[in-house]
C-alpha cells in the first residue's frame, strides 16, 4: 500500500512562526518521498486545530501523520487522540519538537529553520517505519493482600475495607497489633495507645470485607498488577496452603530491633538492669517500673544511638521515645533522675520540639556522649563515657535503657524473595522512587508501608498506609480493565539464543525463560518499555515497539546526512 504521510506545522501563535521560517520549511519538505501533503496552521492544539487535523486525516486519507509543533511532553497525547478519533492508529503519528528544542534555543532564524527541517525529516523517516499498536486491556481483581498485621497493615486494611474492598490480612503472630501493642502511650499526645489499637483491631474483626489469617505467612505470590495468585500457609500446622487471587499487595511487615548483645561494651545480657527500649515499654505497660530487686530505680540512663554506627543510619524514632520514657519515669517515680546520652538529637517535625523542652530540666538532662562503656559498680551500674569536650565522665545509675537501631524485620529477605521486591543496602524494601513513587515498588501493584520501608514513627506509618490504600482504590477499580504499557519489548523466538542476558538486567522481572524452548519471553503486562534488554541483547532478538532499531536509525541517518 502506498504511504501517504501528512505533515502539519504548527505556528504556535508567534512562538514558532516568529523564530522559524515555516514557508521555507514547507517548501523544502513538500517534495520529500511519501509526503502527500504539508500545511501550516495557527494553533494545532486549539479546538479549531484539532478539528482541522481530524478533517485533514480523513480528507487526505493519510496513512501516517507528522506534526511539527511543541514538545511531546505538551501535546503528544492530544494529537494521538485526534488521530485516533479520525480513524488513524495513534502510533502511526510522530511529533517533531520544533519549539522547545528548536525555535526557542537560538536567535538565528536561519539556523532554527534548518534545524526544524532536519527534525521534521527525522520524524518523516521514522514514521515511515511505524506500525499500528493496539491498546491492551486486561481484567483485574480488585481484592488486596496485606502482609503484616501491625499498625501499618491494620490501617491499610481498614482504609481499603471501609469502601467495601475485599482484603486478606496475613499476620504470622497469633494476634494482630504488632509492636505498638507493647506501648502504653503515644509520643507527643501522651494519650493511651491501647484504646486506639484495640479499636482498630475490633473494627478489623467485625468488618466482613477483611479475611484475617493469624499464625500464617505468605508462601507464594506470583503474577502482576491486577492478577496476583497468592498462597498462604499456617505456621503452626501442616495444613494445605490457602489459595486466592488479588490485584494488589501491601507489604507491612514492620521492623525489629538491633541486637544489643553485638555491642558487649553496653553489657546487655550480662549485667542486671541493662534493658532495651522495648523491654522497658513492656515493663512500663505492665504498670510497675522496677529493678531486678523489685525496687524502683532512683536514677536511669537512656543511651541513644545503640548500633547506629554499625548500621550506618539514624533510626529516627529513638530520640522521641526516649523523651517519652523520661516522661513515663518522671510521672511514675517523681524523684527519679534521668540522663539521656545521645550522640545526635533528632527531633524533627512541627511539634515534637515542645515535648523535648517540657521534658528537659527538672530531673531530666540530655548529654552528648561518645564511647560509652557500662560496668557493674556494687549493686549499681557505672556508665563511663566521653562528653562533648572529650573528657572522660563516669555516671552511676540504677538502670540503663538502651535505644537500639531499628532493623528490617527478620523475614524481610524471605518476603523479598517471594514478592521479588528489591531490598536496599540496609535491608529495608526499596521504594520505586523516593520522590516520584515513595510507596510504590519496582513491581506495579505491590506497595511498601511503615517500617518495612525504613524506620518510622506511628503517624508517618499511618500516612503511608492511607497513601497505599488511596493508590490502590484509585488505580484498581472493580470492573475497570487495566491498560498495560503498549510500547513494550518483544523477543524474536527465531533469533533468541537463550543466554538470559536480558533476564539478568530487567528491573521488573518482566522477562521469563521458557525452559522447553530455551528462549526468553517478555511478559508484556509487566514490561515498562525502557529498552534496556534491547541494547543488552547481542543477537538483536529483543526489540521494543515504537523504538525499534529501524525507527531510531532513521533519526540517526537524518543527523548524519
Amino acid at each position: 500500500m502506498k504511504r501517504k504521510i501528512g505533515v502539519y506545522v504548527c505556528e504556535c501563535g508567534p512562538n514558532i512562526a516568529e523564530k522559524v521560517d515555516i514557508d521555507k520549511v514547507i517548501e523544502a519538505i513538500s517534495s520529500d518521498k511519501d509526503v502527500a501533503v504539508i500545511k501550516k496552521f495557527k494553533l494545532l492544539c486549539s479546538a479549531d486545530g484539532k478539528k482541522f487535523l481530524e478533517e485533514e486525516i480523513k480528507k487526505q486519507d493519510l496513512t501516517h501523520l507528522v506534526i511539527a509543533a511543541c514538545s511531546p511532553k505538551d501535546h503528544e497525547k492530544t494529537f494521538m487522540e485526534v488521530s485516533e478519533k479520525a480513524g488513524l492508529n495513534p502510533y502511526l503519528f510522530q511529533l517533531a519538537n520544533i519549539r522547545e528544542q528548536c525555535a526557542w534555543i537560538t536567535e538565528d532564524k536561519d539556523e532554527a529553520t534548518k534545524k526544524a527541517i532536519r527534525l521534521i525529516r527525522a520524524a518523516i523517516g521514522r514514521v515511515r517505519y511505524h506500525s499500528s499498536l493496539e491498546k491492551k486491556e486486561i481484567d483485574s481483581n480488585p481484592d488486596v493482600l496485606v502482609i503484616g498485621g501491625g499498625i501499618a497493615g491494620i490501617e491499610a486494611s481498614l482504609q481499603l475495607a471501609r469502601p467495601n474492598r475485599k482484603v486478606y490480612l496475613v499476620e504470622k503472630a497469633p494476634e494482630l497489633g504488632g509492636l505498638v501493642t507493647n506501648f502504653e502511650k503515644n509520643f507527643l499526645s501522651m494519650k493511651p495507645l491501647s484504646e486506639i489499637i484495640n479499636g482498630k483491631i475490633e473494627e478489623i474483626n467485625t468488618n466482613e470485607n477483611i479475611k484475617v489469617f493469624t499464625n500464617s505467612e505468605v508462601d507464594e505470590a506470583v503474577g502482576f498488577f491486577g492478577n496476583f495468585e497468592i498462597k498462604v500457609k499456617r505456621t503452626d500446622a501442616e495444613d494445605e496452603p490457602v489459595q486466592f487471587d488479588v490485584g494488589a499487595v501491601v507489604i507491612a511487615i514492620g521492623s525489629t530491633l538491633f541486637d544489643s548483645k553485638k555491642l558487649p561494651e553496653y553489657g546487655y545480657g550480662t549485667l542486671n538492669n541493662v534493658i532495651t527500649s522495648l523491654e522497658f515499654e513492656k515493663m512500663n505497660k505492665s504498670g510497675k517500673i522496677s529493678l531486678k530487686n523489685g525496687k524502683p530505680p532512683k536514677s536511669v540512663a537512656i543511651i541513644h544511638c545503640v548500633g547506629r554506627k554499625e548500621k550506618g543510619y539514624c533510626s529516627e524514632i529513638c530520640c522521641m521515645y526516649s523523651i517519652k520514657f523520661a516522661k513515663y519515669l518522671t510521672d511514675k517515680i517523681p524523684s527519679v533522675k534521668v540522663s539521656n546520652l545521645y550522640s545526635d538529637l533528632c527531633i524533627p517535625g512541627k511539634t515534637n520540639q515542645k515535648l523535648y523542652e517540657q521534658a528537659k530540666g527538672k530531673n531530666v538532662n540530655f548529654i552528648r556522649f561518645s564511647d560509652a562503656e557500662i560496668t557493674k559498680s556494687k549493686d549499681q551500674l557505672s556508665v563511663k563515657y566521653k562528653d562533648e569536650n572529650g573528657s572522660k565522665t563516669n555516671l552511676i545509675v540504677d538502670m540503663v535503657i538502651l535505644a537500639p537501631a531499628v532493623e528490617p524485620a527478620v523475614d524481610a529477605s524471605k518476603i523479598a524473595e517471594i514478592t521479588g521486591i528489591y531490598q536496599g543496602d540496609e535491608g529495608f524494601f526499596e521504594e520505586e522512587h523516593e520522590k516520584i513513587n515513595p510507596i510504590s515498588t519496582s513491581t506495579e501493584g505491590i506497595y511498601i508501608v511503615g517500617c518495612a520501608q525504613g524506620p518510622k514513627n506511628i503517624s508517618e506509618t499511618l500516612v503511608q498506609s492511607e497513601a497505599a490504600a488511596g493508590k490502590i482504590l484509585s488505580s484498581l477499580v472493580p470492573g475497570r480493565k487495566i491498560e498495560p504499557e503498549v510500547k513494550t519489548s518483544e523477543i524474536s523466538e527465531a533469533l533468541c539464543i537463550g543466554c538470559k542476558t536480558c533476564l539478568s538486567i530487567c528491573s521488573y522481572g518482566a522477562i521469563t525463560f521458557d525452559e522447553s524452548k530455551k528462549i526468553s519471553v517478555v511478559n508484556e503486562v509487566i514490561c515498562r518499555g525502557c529498552g534496556n534488554c534491547v541494547a543488552a541483547c547481542p543477537s538483536g532478538a529483543a526489540s521494543i515497539k515504537h523504538f525499534k532499531f529501524k525507527q531510531l536509525y532513521q533519526e540517526i541517518r537524518e543527523a548524519i546526512k
Binding site: K73, N97, E100, E107, K115, S507, L552, E555, A559
Partner: protein, 143 residues
C-alpha cells in the same frame, strides 16, 4: 583553533524521555541559547542506547554523540542508567584502544530540572567538537 571557523558540527543527542529530554525542553522554555546543530533523539531510557547506534553514527560521519540520562539513582526505570554507564565505558575503551577519537562521545546526566546544565553541556560539547574538527570517517571509502 582558527581551523573550521564556520564548520558547524553534526551532533547527535540521545536523550532519555524522563530526565534529559525534559531538561532539554526546560532549556528551551527558559529561552537559554545553545548551538542549534545538536539533533535530539528521544529514547524512553538511556539504557536503550545500543553502543552499536553510536558506532553506526560515528562511522557514518557524525561529529559528536551525546548520551544523556537521569542521574544515577534517579533513573525512571530504576537501574537503566547504571548499565548505560557500563556500556558507555566499554565503548569509550574500545575507541581509545583502537585510536579512534573517543572525545567525540560524551555521557552526561541531565535531570528534568537542569535546563541550565543541558544548555551548558550542549554548548561546551559543541565547542569541543569544533576544536576536534570534522569527523574524518565522513569521506572514507574502505569502511
Amino acid at each position: 583553533m582558527e581551523k573550521n571557523e564556520e564548520f558547524t558540527p553534526r551532533i547527535l543527542a540521545f536523550l532519555c524521555n524522563w530526565c534529559s529530554y525534559a531538561g532539554a525542553d526546560l532549556a528551551g522554555t527558559s529561552r537559554l541559547k545553545y548551538p542549534a546543530s545538536i539533533l535530539p533523539i528521544r529514547v524512553m531510557c538511556s539504557s536503550r542506547v545500543d553502543p552499536i547506534f553510536v558506532l553506526r553514527a560515528y562511522l557514518g560521519g557524525i561529529d559528536g554523540v551525546l548520551v544523556a540520562g537521569c542521574h544515577p539513582g534517579d533513573c525512571h526505570y530504576q537501574e537503566g542508567n547504571y548499565y548505560t554507564r557500563r556500556r558507555f565505558a566499554m565503548l569509550k575503551k574500545v575507541f581509545e584502544e583502537t585510536g579512534l577519537e573517543s572525545d567525540r562521545l560524551l555521557l552526561s546526566w541531565v535531570s528534568a530540572s537542569e535546563g541550565q546544565k543541558y544548555a551548558k553541556v550542549a554548548t561546551e560539547f559543541t565547542g569541543k567538537i569544533k576544536e576536534l574538527g570534522e569527523n574524518s570517517t565522513k569521506n572514507k571509502i574502505f569502511l
